[in-house]
Amino acid sequence: MLDGMSLGNSCTKPARLARLCLWPLLLAGILLLAACQRDAAMPWRLTDIGGHMPDLDFSLTDDHGKPVTGADYRGKVVLLYFGYTHCPDVCPLTLAQLHVVMQRLGPLADGARILFVSVDPARDTPQVMHAYVNAFDPRAVGLSGTPRAVEALSKRYRSAFTREPDKGDGQYEVSHSSAIYLFDRTGKARLLATPATSQDDLVHDLHLLLDPGIQP
C-alpha cells in the first residue's frame, strides 16, 4: 500500500507537469487550427458569401473582342459588377469608387480585376465597352455577350436585370442589381459589397484577399 502510494505519487508529479505543459500546446494547436480555418479568423468587413455562391464561371467576350471564361481570371482577385454604358449615374459612380479603391491599394491592385458585365447586350459592343471601362481604371475589363450568356452569369449569382420600356426614341434604361461580388485568386466567391459600401471597408478586405502573405 505504502509502496503503491509512493509509487503513485512519484508518478503523478511528472504526469501533472506534462499535463500542465501540454495545455498551452493544445491551446496553441486549437488557435492554429482556427486560424487555418478560413473565414472564422478573417476579420472581413464586407458580407461573407464564402460557400454560398458558386465559383466564377462564364463564357463572354472581353473588350478586345476575345472570348473569355472565368478560368482566364484565375490568379486574380475579381470584382464582378453588372451594369451598362448608357447608365449615366449609378454605374459610373460605382466604377469611379472602385477606381479610387484600386488606387488606394497601390501596386497590390495589379493582382485584381474589375469585371464590368453589360446587361445591355444590344448596345454594348466590345468596342463601346473598351472605351467605357478604360475611362475609369486600367484594371477594369468590360465583358459583353449574348443575352443568354449574360443571363446565365446573372442567374448564377442570383443577380437580376430588367430592360425598361422604350421611351419612344429608341432610348431605354436597364434596371439592374447593384451588388459587387468579390472572388479570390482561385475563383471562389468570397464577399459581397454594394455601391453604399465604404471605400475603407473595400480596401481593407481587398488587402486581405490580395496580400500574398495572408492566406484567406
Partner: protein, 160 residues
C-alpha cells in the same frame, strides 16, 4: 418682351421686387459646384449641381436645356431591394432658405446627344428652368469619367 413698354416692365419689376428680395425663382436660387461626368463617345452624361434658395418662398425646378445637348432631363437614381433604377422626375422643389443637391446616386440631369464632343476641362452652359418660367444659366465644368466628387480632380490625375 415689347421694347415699347420699358417703363411698364420696370414698374412691374419694381412691384415684384417689393414683394420679396428676389422676384423670380431663378433669381433667388444660387447654383454651385456644377459639374458633368464626361463619358466616352456619345453616351449620356450625368450633370450635378447644388441649388440653394435664398428666398422666403420655395422654388421649383421643372426642366433644363442646353445648346450642347439635344436633350436634358431631370432624373433620379434609386436603389431598392438591391436593384438600381432610374426614374424621370417632373419637378424638384428647393425649399425656402434651403438647398437641394443633385449628386451621383440621386437626383441628376441626364444629358443626351451632345451636339459636339465634350471633353474634361470644358465648360458647358445649362439653363435651369423654374415653375414660374424663369431660367438660371449655370456653367457646368466637364470632369473625367472617374471623378467621385466635385472637389475631386478625377482619379486619373492624382496618384496615391
Amino acid at each position: 418682351m415689347k421694347p415699347r413698354l420699358p417703363t411698364l416692365s420696370a414698374l412691374l419689376a419694381g412691384l415684384l421686387l417689393a414683394g420679396g428680395l428676389h422676384a423670380t425663382e431663378a433669381a433667388r436660387v444660387h447654383a454651385s459646384q456644377a459639374w458633368i461626368r464626361v463619358l466616352p463617345g456619345d453616351l449620356p452624361a450625368g450633370g450635378y449641381v447644388t441649388l440653394a434658395n435664398g428666398g422666403d418662398e420655395p422654388a421649383t425646378l421643372n426642366g433644363a436645356a442646353s445648346t450642347t445637348y439635344a436633350e436634358v432631363m431631370l432624373h433620379r437614381s434609386s436603389r431598392e431591394t438591391g436593384m438600381s433604377r432610374m426614374t424621370m422626375v417632373d419637378t424638384l422643389a428647393i425649399p425656402a432658405h434651403g438647398s437641394v443637391t443633385l449628386a451621383p446616386g440621386g437626383y441628376h440631369l441626364m444629358l443626351m446627344h451632345a451636339t459636339h464632343p465634350v471633353k474634361a476641362g470644358d465648360t458647358v452652359k445649362i439653363e435651369l428652368r423654374f415653375a414660374d418660367g424663369s431660367a438660371l444659366p449655370v456653367d457646368f465644368l466637364a470632369r473625367p469619367a472617374n471623378t467621385l466628387a466635385p472637389g475631386d480632380a478625377g482619379g486619373m490625375h492624382h496618384g496615391h
